[in-house]
C-alpha cells in the first residue's frame, strides 16, 4: 500500500534528519523559512537603527506595570460600570416619563381590554424593558472601547496567573470579559482555546458573567431598594458572578474536567485609538440584538403574560411554582412567573413585573410598587437579583452552548447546575441575611 509506504518513509526521514541535525526536522524547516524571510527583508525593508519606542509601549509601562497592573484593571472595570450607570440615569428617567404618559393615555381607550392591552401589555411590559436601552447601549459602548483600544489582550496577560491557579487560562479571560456584553459571542470566542477541557470549562462558567440583559434587573431593584448604594449593589452583582465563575471553574477542573491546562502564548497588539464610528457601529450591532429581541421574543412573552393574566390563568401557574422559592424569600406567584418567563430572555423578568404591576401607576416606581405590593425588603430584592444572575442562562445562550459543545449532556448539565446553584445562593443570602435583620 502506497500510503502506508509514505508514512513509513516519513518516519525514516524524520529519524535520519534528527540524527544529522540533532534537532527535529520541523525546527530546521522553520529556521529555513525565517532565514529566507530575513534575507528578503534586508533587501526590501529598512528599519531605524534603534527601534522607536512607540506610544503604545509607553502606555503599557503604566497599564500593565508590575504594581499598577491589577489596581488599574479593577479601576477600569469599575469605571465601565460607573460610566454606564451615571450617564444613563437621566436618559432613563426621560424615556420612563414618556412611556408613563403613554400608559396613562391608554387607560382612556375603549374597549377596556384593548386599553389594558396597550397600557399594561405594550407600554407597561415592553416599555419597562425599553427604558433600559440607555444603560445597555452605554455598556456596549464602553466594552467596545475596551475591545478596540487593545486592552482586552492585556487583561488576559494580567489575569493569566490567577486563571492558571484555578486551572484555567489567560485566554479564558477574554470570553469572560466579552460575557459582560452578551454570553453568546463570548461562548463563541472560546473556539480559540486549544485545550478542549479548558474550553469546556470556560463555556460552563461563562453564564455567570452578567450580560447586558441582566443589567436592567440590577438597576431596577438596586434603584428601588438600595437608593443610597445603587452603584455598589449593581457592582456587587457583577463581582458575585465573577467569584462564582472562579469557584465553579475550580470545582470543574478538580472534578469533571481534570487534567493539565493548555499553553499560554499570546501576542499583544499595539494600542489603537478607537474611532467614533467604529465604536458606534459596535454599540449599534450589539445593541440591535437587544432591540430586535425586545420587538420579537420579549414582545411575544409580554403579550402572552398579559393574556394569561387577563384571563386569570397566570396566577395558578405562579402559585404552583412559588413555594419552591419561599426559602429564598421571594415565594410570591408574581416572582415565580417572572423567573419562569425569564428563561426566554432575562429582560422578560422585568417585562413580567411591568405587565403585572403597571395599572395606572407611573413606571418610574415599578421597583417601589413591587416592594409595596409584594412586601419585599432590600434583602429579598438582593436574593432575587442573585437568583436572576445565576439561574439558567437565556434560551439563546443555551442554544449556543448546545452548538459549541455539540452535546445535549453538557447543555442539560448547565441548565441543571445553574438552577440549583441559583436557588442555593439566593436561599443562603435570604436565610443568613435574615439572622441579622
Amino acid at each position: 500500500m502506497n500510503r502506508e509506504e509514505i508514512l513509513r518513509a516519513q518516519e525514516k526521514s524524520l529519524a535520519h534528519l534528527r540524527s544529522v541535525y540533532r534537532e527535529d526536522a520541523e525546527t530546521v524547516i522553520a529556521d529555513a523559512r525565517y532565514g529566507f524571510i530575513s534575507g528578503l527583508l534586508t533587501e526590501a525593508m529598512r528599519k531605524p537603527a534603534i527601534e522607536r519606542r512607540t506610544i503604545s509601549d509607553l502606555i503599557d509601562k503604566v497599564l500593565i506595570n508590575r504594581w499598577l497592573g491589577i489596581p488599574i484593571f479593577l479601576a477600569l472595570l469599575y469605571g465601565v460600570f460607573q460610566f454606564t450607570f451615571t450617564v444613563s440615569v437621566p436618559l432613563m428617567d426621560w424615556i420612563d416619563e414618556g412611556f408613563g404618559w403613554f400608559a396613562d393615555q391608554a387607560t382612556t381607550i375603549s374597549p377596556e381590554w384593548l386599553g389594558s392591552f396597550i397600557g399594561d401589555g405594550i407600554f407597561g411590559g415592553l416599555g419597562s424593558v425599553l427604558v433600559f436601552v440607555p444603560p445597555i447601549f452605554l455598556l456596549f459602548l464602553a466594552l467596545a472601547f475596551l475591545e478596540d483600544c487593545g486592552y482586552l489582550a492585556r487583561a488576559a496577560f494580567v489575569m493569566d496567573r490567577l486563571m492558571h491557579r484555578i486551572g484555567l487560562h489567560g485566554r479564558s479571560f477574554i470570553p469572560m470579559m466579552l460575557g459582560f456584553g452578551c454570553n453568546v459571542p463570548a461562548i463563541m470566542a472560546t473556539r480559540t482555546i486549544e485545550n478542549p477541557k479548558d474550553r469546556l470549562t470556560t463555556i460552563l462558567i461563562n453564564p455567570f458573567m452578567s450580560c447586558g440583559a441582566r443589567l436592567p434587573i440590577y438597576i431596577l431593584f438596586a434603584g428601588a431598594f438600595f437608593t443610597a448604594h445603587q452603584g455598589l449593589v449593581v457592582f456587587s452583582m457583577y463581582a458575585m458572578g465573577i467569584i462564582l465563575a472562579i469557584i465553579m471553574g475550580l470545582v470543574f477542573r478538580k472534578t469533571l474536567l481534570r487534567g493539565p491546562s493548555g499553553h499560554f502564548v499570546m501576542e499583544l497588539p499595539p494600542y489603537r485609538l478607537p474611532t467614533i464610528t467604529g465604536l458606534v457601529v459596535h454599540m449599534w450591532e450589539r445593541g440591535k440584538v437587544f432591540l430586535v429581541r425586545a420587538g420579537t421574543i420579549i414582545f411575544a412573552a409580554v403579550v402572552l403574560i398579559w393574556l394569561l393574566d387577563y384571563t386569570g390563568a397566570l396566577e395558578p401557574i405562579g402559585r404552583a411554582i412559588a413555594p419552591i422559592f419561599s426559602p429564598a424569600g421571594f415565594g410570591q406567584w408574581q416572582a415565580a412567573v417572572a423567573l419562569v418567563f425569564g428563561l426566554l430572555a432575562k429582560e422578560v423578568v422585568i417585562g413580567t413585573f411591568g405587565t403585572l404591576f403597571t395599572g395606572a401607576e407611573e413606571l418610574g416606581g415599578l421597583g417601589d410598587v413591587i416592594g409595596f405590593d409584594l412586601g419585599w425588603t432590600a434583602l429579598i430584592a438582593f436574593a432575587f437579583m442573585a437568583m436572576t444572575l445565576i439561574y439558567v442562562p437565556c434560551m439563546a445562550v443555551i442554544g449556543t452552548i448546545r452548538r459549541e459543545t455539540n452535546s445535549w449532556k453538557w447543555t442539560v448539565f448547565v441548565i441543571g447546575y445553574t438552577l440549583v446553584l441559583g436557588w442555593i445562593v439566593a436561599t443562603l443570602i435570604y436565610q443568613i441575611g435574615s439572622l441579622f435583620t
Binding site: I6, Y21, R33, L41, R46, R52
Partner: protein
C-alpha cells in the same frame, strides 16, 4: 448581458492583521472587528462585484501557520488547504512583517494563487520602517498591495490585482524554498512516493505535502490515514 464570472477568494492572515476590516471594505458588510487576536472564529462569506466579476469573499479566522491547533484555526486551514479558493489574499501586518510573512511563505509553498495585502502601512511608517513595495513584490514574486484598511485605502488596488489574477494576467510562479541538502534529499524521496499516488498528487502539491510530512503535521498525517483506499 454577459454573465458575471464567479470567483472565490479567501482572506487569510495572522490574527489581528485586519482581515475583517478588509472584508468589510470589500463587501460592505459589518462583521465584528476588534483590536485583539481571535475576533473572528468562523468563516464568513460576502460578495463584491467588480469589472464583470462576482467575487465571493471569504473572511477567515487568523492563523500563524497552517498547522492548526484550535477550532478556529482548523476552519481557516481547511478552507485554504482543502477547499482551494481561486485566490488567497494574505492580509499582512506591515508593522510586523517578519512574522507575518511566515504564513505568506507557506501559502507560496502550497502553490496557491497569492496576493499579499500589505496592511497597516500607517503603523509601519510611524515606526520608521521603510518598505520597498516593488522590491518586496519582485523578491516574493507575487503581487503586493499596500493598504490602510481602517481608512479604506488600497481597496481599489486590491480589487484590480484580484481581477488581474482571475483574468490570468498574473500567473502563479512555482516557488521553491531551499531547505539545505539533507532535508532536500528527504523531501525528494517523499515527493517521489507521493507522485505515484494519483489522488494525492492531484489534490496537493507533492512537494508541499512532503514538507508537511517532515514538519510532522498531524492533519496531513490524518488525511493520509483516512483516505487510504
Amino acid at each position: 448581458m454577459r454573465m458575471a464570472k464567479e470567483i472565490t477568494i479567501a482572506l487569510a492572515g495572522n490574527p489581528n492583521s485586519g482581515k475583517t476590516t478588509v472584508f468589510n471594505n470589500l463587501t460592505g458588510a459589518r462583521q465584528h472587528v476588534g483590536n485583539w487576536p481571535g475576533v473572528t472564529v468562523e468563516k464568513k462569506e460576502g460578495t463584491c462585484r467588480y469589472q464583470g466579476y462576482a467575487i465571493k469573499v471569504v473572511d477567515l479566522p487568523g492563523v500563524y501557520s497552517f498547522t492548526a491547533y484550535s477550532i478556529d484555526e482548523v476552519v481557516a486551514r481547511n478552507f485554504v488547504v482543502e477547499e482551494k479558493p481561486d485566490a488567497v489574499v494574505d492580509i499582512v501586518d506591515a508593522s510586523n512583517l517578519e512574522r507575518n510573512l511566515y504564513l505568506a511563505v507557506q501559502l507560496m509553498e502550497m502553490g496557491t494563487r497569492l496576493i499579499v495585502a500589505l496592511n497597516m502601512m500607517d503603523q509601519a511608517e510611524s515606526r520608521g520602517y521603510k518598505i520597498d513595495v516593488p522590491q518586496l513584490s519582485y523578491l516574493l514574486d507575487v503581487p503586493v498591495v499596500p493598504m490602510v484598511a481602517n481608512r479604506n485605502r488600497g481597496t481599489q488596488e486590491l480589487l484590480e490585482e484580484i481581477v488581474k489574477m482571475a483574468d490570468g494576467e498574473v500567473q502563479p510562479r512555482k516557488f521553491r524554498l531551499d531547505y539545505g541538502r539533507e532535508v532536500e534529499e528527504e523531501i525528494a524521496k517523499l515527493e517521489e512516493l507521493i507522485s505515484q499516488d494519483d489522488e494525492l498528487s492531484q489534490r496537493y502539491s507533492p512537494r508541499w505535502l512532503a514538507v508537511k510530512l517532515l514538519e510532522g503535521d498531524e492533519e496531513v498525517v490524518k488525511t493520509l490515514r483516512a483516505t487510504k483506499e
